[in-house]
Amino acid sequence: MDRSEHIGESAELYAVGALDPAGHAAVEAHIAHCAQCLRRVGEAEETVLALERANAVHAARRDARAPRRLTRQAVAWLIPLTAAAAFILGLLFPRPVPQHDVATLAMIGSHFSHAQFSGHGSAAKVIYARDRSWYYVIVEGRRRYSVYGFAGTARTKLGETVPSGKTSEFFTRSSRAYDRLELRDRTTIAGIATIR
């Protein structure tokens, strides 16, 4: 597909998953720079959503050990909780997955918050579980930083950020709740984030 040529009917075919991988990739490349075709794809996606509305929200797993019929409201809350449990079980048996994948799984499955690092270093933030069970540090740029956790006056080196794309990242699960994280570039403090 020529970059200057609009995608036409491929917008609808893309939305319903009818294109082959090459056609799919061509549409994605085109809509990355064409607002008109992006909107047409968006409209086709809204049609897909309309077709899926009939059977969207009342999915629930049958559990022989729990014969009590779940209300729709209970199901709506149970689904994320079930997913969270699955994530936690998965994380108990670590596999060689990239840090950001593990972090994303943890984020999707639990309550979390985030804080910016203040300091003279690169822009950085920490995303952390509200129960302080994990911390995910993302620093702009590919420089490696040491990450320290503070619980009161006690300091613990948690690890080092690892370059990944345009950022440097560090994910850790922790049984200890920290009230402050520090980023260090060798011996220099590059940033401090307060965990609330």
Binding site: A11, V16, A18, A32, R39, G42, A44, H114
Partner: protein
Amino acid sequence: MAVIFDSRTAHWASVPDESLAESFGRRDAGAYEAAYRSFGPRMRATAMRLLRDWDAANECVHDVFLYLWRKETAYSAARGSLEAFLVTCVRNRALERLRDAARGRAANEKMEVREEYVLEEDPIERERIGRAVAALTEAQAAVVQLAYYRAMTLSEVAAQLQIPVGTVKARLSAALRALRRSLIPQVDHGP
């Protein structure tokens, strides 16, 4: 509206879907969680309708969020509804899995006997969609049934109906636009 955790005030707050979409486009972590909570059930049900497997549907939803998280420019609010985008993404992911599995006959048979789920339908929506599909031309309705509901590839549809693939494409595209006019009547479709 979606519910999102505001770290500045440490409170949960309702935000318009438009704000959520913009935050999601910026890969804001809070927006990802809010989107998961708001749209995850519908995404899961969409995948389940195709795969008929709870665990596989869950994996599809997680795959989509992971993919989008890693791909920086996957979504922008200019595209339109975030929910529609996510539901389409998960449907496409489920189709990939379905077609992978369908390459082996045994896999197909295995999927047909899985019944460990409850997928309820909203009868009012079902009827509304049924009316919209019935309003299509017979030729368009046939390609929608095969390509959309039975998840056939364009080549399979063409073979089934004994028409060229190009004709399938044109009919499917026209059918989707007609369904949009029926199902989303409040939209200004232009002159």
